[in-house]
């Protein structure tokens, strides 16, 4: 049996970890919302500032899960398989790259390299030094069965953990959900929620924290 050890959400104004509110966006003009989360999780990673929003959101969700969810994630180099998905691929970065060469201006190479949705997998792999199997897929909508089946297959194949998530980050939408699954027998830290509950976890009610 495969179980969920922890999960987190980032939406437009709040962060939640394991169903509990942990951070609300402030009106701080100096820091963007993603930068506020960066400060909150205490990351010090200069590369972060070069990433596009999709990659930033992936790296931040992982940091939230690790620190707020108290999951050490001390797996072997090839022990973690990653599966991320969304609906609009890298559309946000695509628009920014397209704008960079409008009016005959020089296209930006730094923007171009982010016009692929799987770059977030690379950024996580680089940051964590993970060499496992990894895949990015585009789906019409969040599909619990897709994630359940992937996690079951890969845990059965013998990987230590599967980190999966829905990463929809566009100019109008921030819908980030990340979970960590392991075999039930594993003795690692964290909770033990049934994998089948993933749809409820993804759709848990998240009233605005500032109004709580």
């Amino acid at each position: 049996m495969t179980v969920i050890k922890g999960y987190c959400h980032i939406n437009k104004e709040d962060c939640w970890v394991n169903g509990k509110p942990v951070l609300a966006k402030t009106d701080d003009p100096e820091y963007s919302w993603l930068r506020q989360i960066y400060n909150f999780v205490g990351l010090s990673y200069p590369k972060f500032h070069k990433m596009d929003q999709l990659a930033q959101a992936g790296v931040l969700a992982l940091a939230l899960l690790k620190h707020e969810g108290d999951l050490p994630m001390d797996y072997s180099e090839e022990g973690v398989d990653l599966v991320l998905a969304n609906r609009h691929a890298s559309a946000g970065s695509d628009l920014r790259f397209q704008a960079s060469y409008a009016d005959h201006a020089a296209p930006s190479p730094a923007l171009f390299v982010y016009t692929l949705p799987n770059i977030v997998l690379g950024e996580i792999a680089i940051q964590q030094k993970w060499y496992g199997d990894h895949i990015f897929v585009v789906l019409p909508a969040f599909d619990p069965d897709f994630f359940i089946q992937y996690a079951q297959r890969h845990i059965q194949q013998g990987c230590q953990a599967v980190i999966g998530g829905w990463l929809e980050v566009t100019d109008t939408e921030t819908d980030v959900f990340l979970f960590l699954a392991e075999a039930e027998e594993s003795t690692g830290k964290g909770g033990s929620l049934p994998l089948a509950a993933i749809n409820e976890l993804y759709r848990q009610p998240m009233p605005s924290i500032s109004k709580l």
Binding site: P46, H49, K50, A105, A106, P107, S108, P109, A110, V113
Partner: protein, 86 residues
């Protein structure tokens, strides 16, 4: 020349999204690509080429030229002066 260098530092920080770096952190001879310097990478190098075109109208045809020109702010400023004087 000093004016160009100050401008250049600002432009580098902005163009490369070096959020945690301030103009004062970059000395004229700080090595841009050394790990104990600004630790820029290959994509940053290409982005510096875009910077030259955007702010100085300089078109770098051969990116190999950048290797020597982008050593430090000193060498970049010299390169800009040489190119704009042509």
């Amino acid at each position: 020349m000093d004016q160009i260098k100050q401008e250049l530092k600002k432009q580098i920080i902005e163009q490369l999204n070096l959020e945690d770096v301030a103009v004062e952190d970059i000395a004229d001879d700080t090595l841009l690509f050394a790990s104990d310097g600004l630790a820029l990478d290959s994509i940053d190098a290409l982005e510096l080429i875009v910077l030259l075109e955007k702010f100085y109208g300089i078109q770098v045809v051969n990116p190999e030229e950048g290797k020597t020109a982008f050593k430090s702010v000193d060498t970049m400023a010299a390169y800009i002066q040489q190119k704009t004087a042509q």
